[in-house]
């Protein structure tokens, strides 16, 4: 037996046969691969695997330690849940894309050097973009291309940073970044922050995720941003800038969520908000803060997937996604409501749900690090989280005004997947020690103190009071909100205007000038040149050649070929020489 089987490669290579399998076999097969991957992760040991030399650099395909095992564990569990949720799909394409996406994310998590990391990083981009394109609608195609272009730009920044850093330090090994933020490091950080959806680089997420397929969005909600959290935790713990970016991010997401009408876009804004806690925790950089950040990533993947699955089930059944068009579904979809609410309680950090034991670790770490403002801002964001995902979204989606929609529970595989995620959300909340044992640093934190419970419930339940009192103000509106994607969406429009109007006109003017003035002049000049060539240069050369030919003919006449002529000439020559010699000697 080998010590280590790369779970990422299991997914990527395992994706190859999927299109060739019959439907029933395919179902078993796509469940088998994530199960084997979970086993591979659970049995792996720390160490470096797959080392090689490439262009004079050390390559480590897999560097295994506690941090990478933590992320690989939740990634492979999530892959299984996501696959169960997508089991009813008839086309193989999305399974293949999801597997390559998960495999690439695992590749990043184990990458020991920047080249390996970059390769898998780009693999994630392209595989995940397919999950948007697979929706096969015009808005999805547009959003997919925007998603690709933003991520390719981020990838170029990352690659530039990697190359500059490689030249400066001579090593491409991936680890904590030493020293200050020089230009190369800033490029790498920008590439990472883009994937973590840190404002102002966040709009790709809220733009693309709601346009993805119902099953694709579940995968997307889990992997891209959390891979970015992993690389930030690995390379930039204790970077003060991240504390502020993370705190702003946590509030940014909840503010936009108030305005949102699309159910999955609202959830996407809450990814931005929740990743803010993780980014802030990494920025604080103490052992407790990093533990909090990465454990929150673990919990977040599960509850956010559960929420996306719940919203996805509603879209799957009703075909509607706007809160203004939904309502009254609780009668026909009670199980979906209950499972969705488990996710909502988990993200809101209710006691005995997963968010309670992870989010509070980040907030407590900020408190220990004497960052009062961060504590207050993150607590405020918690209130906003419950307000939207726990109250506003379920109220307008499931309860509220009955729109008389025909609905039923989603297919059983969807409910099973949601059930799996819900069980884990509760299990982590009730038995936090299981998760704490996986964390990279020893844990000295007890979430279940009386004061923590009453304070959390106080914040949450009085948020509910605010919701009840100002329900009218929260009424969803049939509008969209402008985010930072405005710059490139409108920028692209202005660029196209520039290309179609002034630039095209300039191009036409230039070609007109060349056709009316420059071309006739050039033709005339060419003709004159030809004339000079034929009558001047050629005549001179020809005359010269003729003169030489004539001289050659004269010479040839001297060579008669008669021996007596030559003998006579020799004798005349000898006599002439003697005469010259005699005269010259005297």
């Amino acid at each position: 037996m080998t010590d280590f089987v790369h779970p990422g490669l299991m997914f990527i290579l395992g994706a190859l046969p999927i299109p060739f399998l019959k439907r029933s076999v395919r179902k078993a097969y796509v469940l088998l691969i994530p199960t084997l991957a979970i086993l591979a992760v659970l049995t792996m040991h720390p160490g470096a695997y797959g080392t090689a030399q490439f262009i004079g650099q050390q390559i480590i395909v897999a560097k295994v330690d506690k941090l990478s095992i933590l992320f690989a564990t939740v990634f492979s569990i999530m892959a299984l849940i996501g696959t169960v949720y997508a089991l009813h799909l008839t086309r193989a394409g999305q399974h293949v894309a999801a597997f390559v996406y998960v495999g690439s994310a695992l590749g990043v998590v184990f990458a020991g050097d920047y080249l390996t990391l970059f390769l898998f990083w780009e693999g994630m981009t392209f595989a995940s973009a397919y999950l948007v394109f697979a929706q096969r609608s015009d808005p999805a195609f547009r959003a997919g291309f925007r998603y690709l272009m933003v991520h390719v730009t981020g990838g170029v920044a990352l690659l530039g940073g990697i190359i500059l850093r490689g030249f400066a330090t001579g090593s491409l090994l991936f680890g904590p970044v030493e020293g200050g933020l020089d230009f190369a490091t800033c490029l790498i950080l920008a590439g990472f922050l883009l994937n973590a959806a840190v404002p102002p680089l966040n709009a790709w997420l809220t733009d693309a995720y709601p346009e993805a397929t119902v099953t694709g969005a579940v995968f997307m909600s889990a992997f891209t941003t959390k891979t970015a959290v992993y690389v930030l935790a690995r390379a930039f713990p204790g970077t003060d800038l991240l504390v502020w970016l993370g705190t702003v991010m946590a509030l940014y997401g909840v503010i936009y969520a108030v305005l949102e009408n699309d159910c999955r876009r609202l959830l996407a804004y809450h990814i931005v908000s929740q990743v803010g806690y993780m980014v802030a925790g990494i920025g604080i950089g103490t052992e407790m803060a990093v533990n909090g950040a990465v454990s929150h990533a673990f919990a977040h993947i599960l509850y956010k997937a559960l929420l996306f699955m719940g919203a996805g089930a509603v879209i799957h059944v009703t075909g509607r996604r706007k809160l203004t068009e939904l309502g009254g579904l609780y009668k026909t979809m009670p199980v979906t409501v209950a499972l969705y609410m488990v996710g909502a309680f988990a993200i809101s950090a209710f006691p005995f749900f997963s968010g309670f034991v992870t989010k509070s670790m980040v907030v407590a770490a900020a408190g220990q690090d004497h960052r009062a403002l961060v504590v207050l801002a993150l607590t405020m964001a918690s209130s906003g989280t419950f307000l939207h995902t726990g109250l506003k979204l379920p109220y307008y989606m499931f309860f509220g005004k009955d729109q008389g929609l025909e609905a039923r529970e989603p297919p059983r595989n969807m409910l099973v997947a949601m059930g799996m995620a819900a069980v884990l959300c509760i299990a982590i909340g009730v038995f936090p020690q299981m998760l704490y044992a996986l964390l990279p640093h020893p844990v000295d934190f007890e979430p279940y103190t009386a004061v923590h419970i009453t304070e959390s419930l106080g914040v949450l339940m009085f948020t509910a009071l605010g919701f009840v009192m100002f329900l009218k103000a929260l009424e969803p509106e049939n509008k969209i909100s402008i985010d930072t994607d405005w710059f490139y969406r409108m920028g692209a429009r202005h660029f196209m205007w520039l290309a179609e109007r002034p630039l095209a006109r300039y191009e036409k003017a230039v070609s007109d000038v060349s056709e009316t003035a420059a071309l006739p002049f050039l033709h005339g000049a060419a003709r004159a040149g030809l004339r000079i060539d034929l009558h001047g240069v050629d005549a001179l050369v020809n005359g010269f050649a003729r003169t030489i030919l004539r001289g050659g003919g004269l010479l040839r006449r001297l060579q008669s070929g008669v021996v007596t002529h030559y003998a006579l000439a020799m004798i005349a020559g000898v006599i002439a020489a003697i005469a010259v010699f005699a005269v010259a000697w005297q």
Binding site: V254, I255, Y256, V258, L259, Y330, K331, P334, V335, V337, A338, G367, Q368, H370, A372, V375, L376, T379, M380, S383, G384, L387, F398, F399, T449, A450, V451, T454, E455, S456, L457, G458, V459, L460, M461, F462, T463, A464, L465, G466, F467, V468, F470, A473, L474, E477, N478, K479, I480, S481, I482, R489
Partner: protein, 84 residues
Amino acid sequence: MIKRVVDFFGDERHAKTRRRLFYLVLVLIVIADFLVFRAHAEYLWERLPGWSAVYGFGSCVLLIFVSKFLGHRCGLMRREDYYD
């Protein structure tokens, strides 16, 4: 069982019970917050019983109105065909 719980939160006929239960929970939480033992309070507000209730309510209201202000007055919210 799940259906009955979900129906309790949805059906209009339970509205009164729901409201009473909700206010009861709020009161209990505030009372509990006064009773719990506060071992080490890092910040001033941690020593104030009931602070979290006030802060939670305040945060909620602030978020709603700041967001709506940004959306309506600062032009963040646009018609759905804005980009078309």
